[in-house]
Structures are given as structure tokens and as C-alpha cells.
Subunit: 199 residues, 2 copies
DNA sequence: CGTCCAGCTTACTGAGAGTAGGTTACTACC
DNA sequence: GGTAGTAACCTACTCTCAGTAAGCTGGACG
């Protein structure tokens, strides 16, 4: 309500606004249940505008995901900056991640929906997105770990990302689990392995 | 083509046939892109029949998923039967899993699509399905591991499942990775932890 | 030979993704 | 001030597809 009638807005600003609203709606209703008409109405604009800016419903979702992913990346990268050892770096990164998913629920919800696009025309885009996510871990690991088999290092990165993703989803069902606890659980398995716990 | 005109078939048999076709179509086209009309036609039956047997498109998917999950459970459970130690049990289970995802691609594809249902009316069903999957690991672990904190054990189970899931998806992009190699990669991190690899 | 009903069909409704083509307000330059 | 030019925007559709209403039919069993 800065002006009596919200009208004519520069391209970049409208775009940000659309993404903001879409992120909200997608994470609330879920991708399938969200309708472009509804998003358009909430933005205060007509549907074809959404198609002008993003080309499809999926395109809009992808834009939201990229946004969230950028933030996540930023946050976790920053967290590992002053690390003193491999263990420290891993722990800091994990903690930043678990804090992120608690404090930015919508963003995290969107990131999860990325998976829902498997087997879709946008699969290539998604593959790229996934690669970037794991690359962060891979880079972190290659900096601290001995460089054995490249393939094995890549596998380990995927492994860590998958594990944390699932653990994060599990955390949603357990409000009593703090980011610190989640980090400890993850570190416990990742760092020490399961061997120590065997009978 | 057992009879000239495929007609009137007992309920149970039709149902199996529908699930079989649906599994194929869903994994080929992806859930969203698959149409009920197409599935109905391939079965050689009209669309309302699908709704008679399963109540919705999602219901049909769920039926397929349950089928695949049952098989996966069966396979992995069988694999761990003769295990001589915790490590052996874990390794056998993992190998069975990675063999499964290579040899039953459609089934595995379906299982992955389960995730796409997050935020859907059927979320409760899905939660149940997920719990059963992780329970298998949790049961396996509780049999062999010392029973510390319940919450921590549950977290570890989720963790393992998530990690293997992602690793499995990664394997799809790497044909040169055999189930045996994948198992080794997973065991390497899970059992020994990352500590041993730090510089 | 009827009658009953499980298995089946045709023919629709409604919702929502995506689009064709026209309209309006801001800008720039005379 | 006027008048082109264009970026932002809209109305009014089409088309696909999930889901449904209501009725038809083949064959088992009396």
C-alpha cells in the first residue's frame, strides 16, 4: 500500500515479489496442490505475467529452489570458514545446515521438493542443482581429506548429503531435537563410524 | 492373448495386472506425466475401472509403491539371515539393496517417487511407508548394537537409509559402479567413519 | 429360462496449466 | 505539450486430464 493502486513495477522487483509469494504458497500447499491462479492473485497480477517471467509452473518452482539453494550454500560455506580441522569443519557445516532447516522452513521445504521433479523435462536442471549441492561437501572434503580414489570421494559426498537430508526430514517430526543434537547424531556416525557401537 | 477378446477377469487378477502396467508407466514417464487414460488403455480397460480398484491416481501409485517396498523388504531381510556379525549383517543388507536397485529399476524408481508425495493428502500413508523402511534398519541395528539412547538409534537408522538412498541415485549416473563397489563405499564411511581418512 | 450382480462401458464435469492477442501507463524525444 | 514507442499488463479463451454419474452385459446359479 505504498501507492493507492499497486501497478506497473520494474521487472526485477516484480520477479522477486513473485518468487517470494510462490515460495510461500509452494511450501504451504505443496507443489501439486498450488495453483498458478492463486499465486497470481496473491501477487496482485494476472496469470500470464507469471508465464512471461518464468515459462511454466515448474520454471517458477525452479526459480524458488535456486534462490533457497543459494542461501543454503552461502550459509554453510560461511560456517566452515574459520575451521581448525576436518572434524571442526564438518561439525560447523552440519550445524549451520541444521539451523538453516529449522529457521527457514519454507526454503528447506522447497529444496526437498526438488526431488519431486525426478523424471520430468526439467530433470537436467535438477541434476545440475544436485551436483552443486554435493560439490560443496566434496570440495570441503577434498580440502581436508587424503585424495584417494576420486569416485570414492564423490560417493562419500553424495552419501553425506543424502544422510543429512533424511536426518533433517526426520527432525521435522521431532521438535525436541535441536540443531545441536542433530549435529551430534550425524557426527557420531560419520566421524566415528558404527563400529564402536557394536556389541 | 489367451482368449481372442480379453474380457471379464476376476478382481484380484485384474488388480495385479493394473499394478504391473502402472508400475511400468509411472517409472517410464514419471508420476506427473503419466495419465490414467493411458494406463487404462494399456491394461485394455476403461478408466473408471482404475478408480473402482484404487480411488485416485495417487492411490494407484501408492499400491505400486507398497508392492515394490514389500519386495525390497523381503530381499534385504533374507540377505541378513545368516549373518555372523554386525558388520557382516550390514554388508549383506547393503549389497542386497544395491543389487535390487540395479536389477529392478522400475521398482526402485517408484520407491523414489514416494518422496514426491510430501505435502499431499496421502502424506500419512507415506509417513507409514517410510517408517516401515527405516524400521528394517532400526531392527537390524538394535539386534546387533548396544542400546543407547532410543532417539539416537532412530536417528542413526534414518541416517543410514538416507545415505544409501542418495548413493543409489548416484549409482544410476555411474554404470561402472557395481553393487559390490557401492557396498564397499557405504561400508567404508558407515563402519570406519571419516576420521581415518583425515589428513 | 430368468434373475442377479460383478465387472464393465460411454459420456460427461470441473479444475487448472498454458496462450493469443489486445490494452494501458510510463518514457523519451521533438 | 504532444505524440511515438515499448514494457508491463489484462481479458478471454483452449486443451488436457483427474475424477464421476448412470447405465449395460455376460455368465453363474437357481
Amino acid at each position: 500500500m505504498t501507492t493507492a493502486k499497486r501497478k506497473r513495477m520494474p521487472r526485477a522487483e516484480r520477479m522477486r515479489q513473485m518468487i517470494e509469494v510462490a515460495e510461500q504458497v509452494f511450501s504451504e500447499r505443496g507443489y501439486a496442490a498450488a495453483s498458478m491462479d492463486e499465486i497470481a492473485e496473491l501477487v496482485g497480477v494476472s496469470k500470464p505475467m507469471l508465464y512471461e517471467y518464468f515459462n511454466s509452473k515448474e520454471g517458477l518452482l525452479l526459480a524458488c529452489i535456486r534462490e533457497s539453494r543459494a542461501i543454503l550454500r552461502e550459509v554453510t560455506e560461511q560456517a566452515t570458514v574459520g575451521a581448525t580441522s576436518a572434524e571442526d569443519a564438518l561439525r560447523r557445516g552440519l550445524l549451520a545446515f541444521f539451523v538453516f532447516i529449522r529457521e527457514r522452513r519454507e526454503a528447506w521445504s522447497l529444496l526437498r521438493h526438488e526431488m519431486a521433479l525426478i523424471g520430468t523435462p526439467a530433470a537436467d536442471e535438477v541434476e545440475e542443482t544436485r551436483r552443486q549441492q554435493t560439490d560443496l561437501i566434496a570440495a570441503l572434503m577434498s580440502g581436508y581429506f587424503t585424495g584417494d580414489d576420486d569416485l570414492q570421494a564423490e560417493a562419500a559426498a553424495e552419501f553425506v548429503v543424502g544422510a543429512c537430508e533424511r536426518l533433517a526430514i526426520w527432525c521435522e517430526r521431532h521438535d525436541e531435537v535441536t540443531p545441536e543434537m542433530a549435529t551430534e547424531y550425524a557426527m557420531d556416525v560419520l566421524w566415528a563410524g558404527l563400529r564402536g557401537r557394536a556389541r
